[in-house]
């Protein structure tokens, strides 16, 4: 019972975080006031070519040196600072959010098709796996994750979300079931390009985790959205699947449906299920994910969790509830509820 929200402007026109804050808060019935988070693309134009690493330090005095040393080993830190925050009466601060603007040294990942991302991936895996009091919560260019334990409006006010401007926003209103005290547990989860918010609980976490971990990913938080982010990165970036096909691999059609398809399509879908059986996600979920050019929404094959899509001008909305979309866009032009297994894919104009 979480609430999720995503909005994208196809022409990269900026939206500040205030509307997203309102949209997420209207779904407070779906949360438990113990966690919320936001991610926005386009927020760091001054450092657009750097990887922005958002890090939670248990205690910067003790752990910052470890992260500094790791980053300097793998590239150059252009700038780093504490993420500006504004104390909220009901928000118990238990870590220090920090941000680095970092240039990875591509020569350290020879032979890779995307060496910078491989370097960043390795850094994230290394830091997050270690018991070093540091957790990297986002690691992409011109993107940042802001999350904490509290109601959406408290978390938004804590980070002053309204001061950031992005062209894609995802947000998550958490109904906590475990570790409410950990600020890294609410969605969004991010790995460089891709950010993920999920309303659901996949029953295949173990199988999916075993699968991605055999490709060198390391699931350190135990959350669905972490494994989903890694699955998308693996399929879309490393295996080069078109995002359509990647979604189909994660939430494939039933065999009965495949049997009825024309032959070429049948072959393609069978091949996807053959190759990615262990990546298939099962159980109830609605996932909204984004990278700098795309926002996607998809559900489990039975659509056990809600997904509402709104369109208005250049804006595409995907949310758990229509009311969230209407809160941000009262004059929304169209509202649709895609059928189970029907993904939504929005792309920014090139």
């Amino acid at each position: 019972m979480c609430g999720i929200f995503g909005v994208m402007d196809k022409r990269r026109q900026m939206m500040d975080g205030s509307g997203i804050r309102e949209a997420l808060s209207i779904m407070n019935e779906r949360g438990s006031g113990e966690g919320a988070g936001y991610v926005a693309y386009g927020i760091y134009p001054d450092y657009r070519d750097c990887y922005a690493l958002h890090v939670f330090f248990d205690n910067p005095g003790a752990s910052k040196a470890v992260v500094d040393a790791t980053l300097e080993q793998w590239g150059t830190i252009e700038h780093d600072e504490a993420i500006p925050t504004c104390d909220q009466p009901n928000l118990k601060v238990n870590c220090t959010p920090w941000r680095y603007f970092f240039r990875p040294d591509a020569s350290l990942a020879p032979g890779s098709a995307s060496p910078e991302k491989d370097v960043v991936t390795n850094i994230v895996m290394q830091i997050n796996a270690g018991a070093n009091g540091a957790e990297i919560v986002s690691s992409g260019k011109n993107v940042g994750v802001f999350k904490a334990g509290g109601w959406p409006e408290e978390v938004a006010d804590f980070y002053r979300i309204q001061d950031y401007e992005g062209y894609i926003w995802l947000a998550h209103n958490r109904y906590a079931t475990s570790s409410p005290e950990l600020w890294e547990r609410p969605d969004p989860f991010n790995l460089h390009d891709w950010s993920v918010v999920e309303n659901g609980k996949i029953t295949t976490y173990g199988a999916n985790r075993r699968y991605v971990e055999s490709f060198g990913y390391n699931c350190s938080t135990g959350t669905d959205s972490e494994v989903i982010a890694y699955l998308i990165d693996l399929l879309a970036r490393k295996h080069g699947l078109d995002i359509n096909l990647a979604i189909r691999a994660l939430a494939p059609p039933y065999w009965d449906e495949i049997d009825r398809m024309p032959e070429a399509e049948q072959k393609l879908n069978r091949a996807l299920r053959f190759a990615y059986g262990s990546a298939t996600m099962n159980g109830p979920f609605t996932v909204v994910a984004a990278n700098p050019d795309t926002m996607i929404g998809f559900t489990d094959r039975g659509k056990l969790r809600p997904m509402v899509v709104g369109e208005c001008g250049d804006r595409l909305y995907i949310a758990s509830e229509e009311t969230a979309i209407r809160t941000m866009e009262p004059c929304v032009e169209s509202i649709t509820r895609p059928a189970a297994g029907e993904p939504v894919i929005g792309r920014v104009a090139q």
Binding site: G200, G206, D242, Y254, F274, G302
Partner: protein, 505 residues
Amino acid sequence: MNSNFGSMPLRYRISIDREQCMECGRCVENCPYGVFRWDGDRILINSRNCTACHRCLTYCPRDAIMLQEHPCDYRSHPVWTRSVRESIYNQARTGKIILAGMGSVSNLPIIFDHLMLDACQVTTPPTDPLREPVELRTYLGKKPSKLDFTQKPNGDVELSTELAPNLMLETPIMLGHMSYGALSLNAHVAMARAAKETGTFMGTGEGGLHPGLYPYQDRMIVQVASGRFGVNIDYLERGAAIELKLGQGAKPGIGGHLPGEKVSADVSRTRMIPQGSDAISPAPHHDIYGIEDLPQLVNSVKEATEYKKPIFAKIAAVNNNAENVAAVARSGVDAIAIDGFRGGTGAAPRVFRDHVGIPIEVAIATADRELRKQGLRNEVSLIACGSIRESTDVVKAIALGADAVYIATAALAAMGCRVCGNCYQGLCSWGIATQRPDLVARLDPDVASKQVANLIHAWTLEITELMGAAGINSIESLRGNRDRLRGYMLDEGLLEILDVKSVGA
């Protein structure tokens, strides 16, 4: 030569309630072991011949017959147990290796029974299999690790990865390899029909393919074992898949043994061996002395069948199982069947049956882990076998990493087998593990096939319910999903090897 042992204490005692008995003589007719005989109008009993096959009990119209195991006590002793002492007496008398039938009888804990399954409660809804699809369809064979596409001139992408041949199963339960020769033709026909009816496959074992099974050949996995009995190109071409038998869980490291008594004229023709001769397959394949020889055999079988059929390999689960599996996965085979130490057999030396090998639960877990670690998991499907007793064993084996299972003893039991363990005598009263025509005729293939099909169907329904309760609606989402298992009273070392958390964790 005589011994000074005299007669051993009775293993079983048969008694007849003379009040109930109506002297119909069905017990005399039904017992092939000679327990009952007429003495005038009275039925006499020789309990010493009894195997506990229960045939007499089931056909006694008055429930007058009773069987008691170990009616005579030895002095109890925790070290010098009855079976230890009796083995010594036996070997002191004969100087021979003791042969035994069926699977291991050692009283070791069964890991399956210490693994608990998961179900959904509030954070996820269970799936209701009566109203929503739950897919058990299983494909066995090589799967691509990633897919390649080519761009067509019009911009569309087209899959360029060619898929290797796979077997499509409607349920992840197959009927394991038991040879014609060890089993009767009626038993084979019954299982073949059941495989066809339930959309699954059956193994021929190493005894060739009798013409009576040709109508079901597209449901048969033909086996090539070290004795090469019954193997020719016609045999290979008839099978839906071909399995190279490299080992057997009941007797790792040694070959097979079909006693000459069971080599009837028909068995002789099917196996291509002389009638009445013992069929002893060698311990190794004499063309495989090293792992590098296995790909040659795999490739020659693939060449012979034009790469149209999946090739399986079956190995026994032993200490270096993970290494063996990784080695075989590189040989070009499409699936590996792993046979645990509790696997059944018609005849095996007792010491092998009870002391050599490792449990299937561990073997599957380590195989799956090693294949994933080496990036080979999609190269082969894994089939678990060796003491799969019920539907929960199937679910647990798959959650530990198997793609499908072979059942064998369970299928025999579905046809009436009482697991008496005397298959090697060739006198099976149920007409299953015998070639004696009058006994074979006792097994009606129509009836027996229905029973086997019923069993597979019932397990399939139970698996569907268990998956639905766990919120899983396709079998590949169960595979290797060890998160959905918990170990109950398993030690920490074993939990780590199984990669399963303890209950409560």
